[in-house]
C-alpha cells in the first residue's frame, strides 16, 4: 500500500492531492476524500482561531501506524493524510484523508476508521482561542473514544 503522511501549517489543495494519489492507486475503482473544517460556534463565545500542536516525528509515525492497521482490515491501494497545525481560522481546512481502494465499501470504511483513530490516537492537541481573548485547551471527547472503540 502506498502511504503518504504530512503535517503542515499551510493549506492543502484537494484536487492536486487527489491527482497525486491517483498516480499511486493503480486500478483502484474507488477514491474517498474527507475534509475537516474548523467550526466557529462550538462554544458560547465565538472562536477567533483554533491552535493545534503536535509532536514532530512521533505524530507522523503514529498516523502511519494507524494507516497500516487500516490496510490490515481492508484491501487499500493508497492512503494520503494531511493534518494542519498552528493557528487556524474558522472555516479553514484542518484535515484531509484520501483513501483509494478497489471498491467503495472498503474506501468508505477505511476513511472513517482513519478519522476515528486520528481523533483518539494521533498526538495532536487543540486550543480554542476565543474572540474575547480567552482560551482553553480542548478536552478529549468520550464520543470520539466510543467511535474508535467500535472497530474492536
Amino acid at each position: 500500500m502506498y502511504c503518504h503522511i504530512s503535517i503542515q501549517a499551510g493549506h492543502f489543495d484537494l484536487a492536486a492531492e487527489e491527482a497525486a494519489l491517483r498516480q499511486h492507486a493503480g486500478d483502484a475503482g474507488a477514491l474517498v476524500a474527507f475534509q475537516g473544517m474548523v467550526r466557529a460556534h462550538d462554544a458560547a463565545t465565538p472562536l477567533a482561531a483554533l491552535f493545534l500542536e503536535h509532536y514532530p516525528g512521533v505524530t507522523e509515525a503514529e498516523i502511519e501506524r494507524i494507516a497500516r492497521n487500516a490496510a490490515q482490515r481492508w484491501p487499500l491501494a493508497a492512503v494520503r493524510v494531511v493534518h494542519r497545525v498552528g493557528s487556524l481560522a474558522p472555516g479553514e481546512q484542518i484535515v484531509l484523508v484520501l483513501v483509494a481502494s478497489g471498491h467503495r465499501k472498503a474506501a468508505f470504511a477505511a476513511a472513517e476508521y482513519l478519522m476515528d483513530y486520528l481523533k483518539t490516537e494521533a498526538p495532536f492537541w487543540k486550543r480554542e482561542d476565543f474572540v474575547d481573548g480567552s482560551s482553553r485547551w480542548v478536552d478529549a471527547k468520550a464520543s470520539d473514544s466510543d467511535a474508535a472503540a467500535r472497530w474492536g
Binding site: Y55, E62, H83
Partner: protein, 83 residues
C-alpha cells in the same frame, strides 16, 4: 546525567514551559511521574491517572512502566484532541 522532558497541550501551562532538563539518576516513567507529581498540587492534578495519555521515550510511545535511560528525550502527552 540528565533527561530532556517535553510537555504538550495543557501540560505546557502547568509546567510554564514546553521543555526542561532534569537531573536523572536512572529509573522508569513511573519514577519520573512520581517526581513531577510531588512538585505541587497543580502538578499532581495535571498528571493524575487518566490525565496522562501516554509517555514517549526517545520518540517511541511506551506502554506501562518503561525504563528511561540517562540522556533520553521524554515526552509527556495529555489526552489527544486531533482530527
Amino acid at each position: 546525567m540528565s533527561i530532556r522532558v517535553l510537555y504538550f497541550g495543557r501540560l505546557k501551562d502547568t509546567a510554564g514551559c514546553s521543555e526542561e532538563q532534569l537531573p536523572w539518576q536512572g529509573g522508569t516513567t513511573g519514577t519520573l511521574l512520581a517526581q513531577l507529581r510531588a512538585r505541587s498540587d497543580s502538578w499532581a492534578a495535571a498528571l493524575a491517572e487518566g490525565q496522562v495519555f501516554r509517555l514517549v521515550v526517545n520518540q517511541q510511545i511506551v506502554r506501562g512502566d518503561a525504563e528511561i535511560p540517562p540522556g533520553a528525550e521524554v515526552g509527556i502527552l495529555p489526552p489527544v484532541t486531533g482530527g
